[in-house]
């Protein structure tokens, strides 16, 4: 298997998109998935349980120093940045917001690109800000694969459009086709 991890960034409209995506991925999908979804700083983690209920994958909030395992999906906790260490464990940081966001997509993508190099797939979904653009550039610079939700099909087109405008993207696709592509790649 060429790819060892997938990072996903989503903002406004992301809950619907993630629900669609995770309802479709089959139980044997083994590449670990790491997600930053922008949420309010006072929000709790209930939505993660709801997402887990709808998915055949094991979805949980990422813990500090947790080892990244195949077949698992990890979500950044509200109000913390989520980073990947080179030994494929998580770090959390309560440092300043990046692009007005904590967790920030850039912070996850940049650290994951350092850790996984060309074995990483980056996916940017719906959103109405520019977080994720620098992160995706880093994914590409390290040799990873860049996938972006077609802005025309996204609930909020700005975030995917910003990535496309600033990076050489491998695939720009509607959600259904992203799912099909992932099923082929793993």
């Amino acid at each position: 298997m060429k790819y060892e991890a997938i990072v996903i960034g989503a903002s406004s409209g992301g809950l619907n998109a993630l629900t669609f995506l995770f309802s479709a991925l089959p139980p044997g999908f083994s590449i670990p998935i790491i997600v930053v979804q922008h949420v309010g700083s006072r929000s709790d983690s209930q939505w993660i349980d709801l997402l887990n209920d709808k998915s055949k994958l094991h979805i949980k909030e990422a813990d500090e120093k947790e080892k990244i395992e195949p077949g698992h999906t990890y979500i950044a906790p509200p109000n913390y940045h989520l980073l990947v260490e080179k030994d494929k464990t998580f770090s959390l940081a309560a440092s300043e917001r990046v692009n007005f966001a904590r967790p920030s997509i850039d912070v996850l993508f940049e650290s994951a690109a350092e850790a996984y190099k060309d074995k990483l797939i980056g996916i940017i979904l719906t959103g109405s800000n520019a977080d994720g653009t620098a992160g995706m550039q880093k994914v590409k610079a390290c040799g990873g694969l860049a996938i972006v939700q077609d802005p025309e099909t996204a609930e909020s087109p700005l975030m995917p459009a910003s990535v496309i405008a600033n990076t050489a993207i491998d695939y720009v696709l509607p959600l259904e086709n992203i799912i099909n592509l992932l099923l082929k790649l793993y």
Partner: protein
């Protein structure tokens, strides 16, 4: 032949230089975050490589001090994680009430918001007069700010909400005076707080205390360093003393996990067992 990543080598050499020259030891902090901070400073500095930064760190004190500030994350709030303070009121205050004199240690107090929050709770619970709060950090700039106790007035709305969510029933505005765009913490809250410079990595036990709060500091440390610092807290605590960690921190990597009883798992409050 396999080459190691150049930036890995450069970062490790840079951290060595900071330690050897200035005594601040970041060598066992979590790498991904340290890397991020260093890369940000590199971009801001306009220098060409981390190796060039090392040259500046060794020969230019003010540049070194900038970098050391970057590596120490001082983001904090009053009544951060209101749930935690609520549990503190309900589960820890009753323990403290049994002592004639109370000593509390805030390790990694940053600019003081956490220690002032504690002072407010102690006052409301009638314990402040018999308490000494030691608030320590290795970041002198942060400590100086903490001592002043002057915060941007714009933050008070958020802090008031935190305070109320934490179970505070008084008027939060009574704890500070506003002056232009500043909020100045009342002198009465300051008088029993002792601010001191202390480095958790390189200094030894600070004082014997009944309560240690070390929140959102250990997440930046590797496991082995977390374990070492946990030993420091254990040695500082009296029997039956209480340890409070940040909401994403735990005793999982500590050899001493078995030496504590859990007072509140979700809010990360632990009680040292009697030896």
């Amino acid at each position: 032949m396999e080459y190691k990543d150049t930036s890995d080598i450069e970062i490790s050499l840079l951290l060595d230089a900071v330690y050897k020259k200035y005594g601040y030891d970041f060598r066992q902090y979590s790498e991904a975050h340290i890397r991020r901070r260093i890369m940000n400073r590199l971009t801001l500095s306009g220098l060409g490589s981390i190796s060039q930064m090392q040259d500046f760190v060794l020969h230019d004190k003010s540049f070194a001090s900038l970098l050391i500030q970057d590596l120490s994350i001082t983001v904090t709030e009053m009544f951060r994680d209101p749930d935690f303070y609520k549990a503190l009121r309900e589960k820890v205050i009753p323990v403290l009430k049994t002592y004639p004199f109370i000593k509390i240690w805030h390790a990694g107090c940053s600019t003081g918001e956490e220690a002032y929050s504690m002072a407010i709770i102690l006052r409301e619970e009638g314990l402040y007069e018999r308490t000494t709060i030691y608030a320590t950090d290795f970041n002198q700039q942060a400590l100086n700010k903490a001592k002043e106790g002057i915060f941007p007035a714009g933050l008070m709305k958020e802090y008031t909400l935190n305070y109320q969510l934490s179970g505070g029933k008084e008027s939060f505005a009574g704890y500070y005076t506003s002056s232009y765009d500043m909020a100045i913490i009342n002198q009465a809250l300051k008088k029993n707080i002792v601010w001191a410079n202390h480095n958790l990595v390189t200094d030894s036990v600070f004082a014997e205390v009944h309560l240690v709060l070390c929140r959102n500091v250990l997440i930046y440390f590797e496991r082995s360093l977390q374990n070492k610092v946990q030993k420091l807290f254990y040695d500082s605590l009296t029997n039956g003393g209480v340890l409070c960690l940040g909401s994403k921190e735990s005793l999982r990597f500590s050899d001493l996990q078995g030496e504590y009883a859990v007072l509140d798992q979700k809010r990360r409050i632990f009680k040292k067992k009697y030896e």
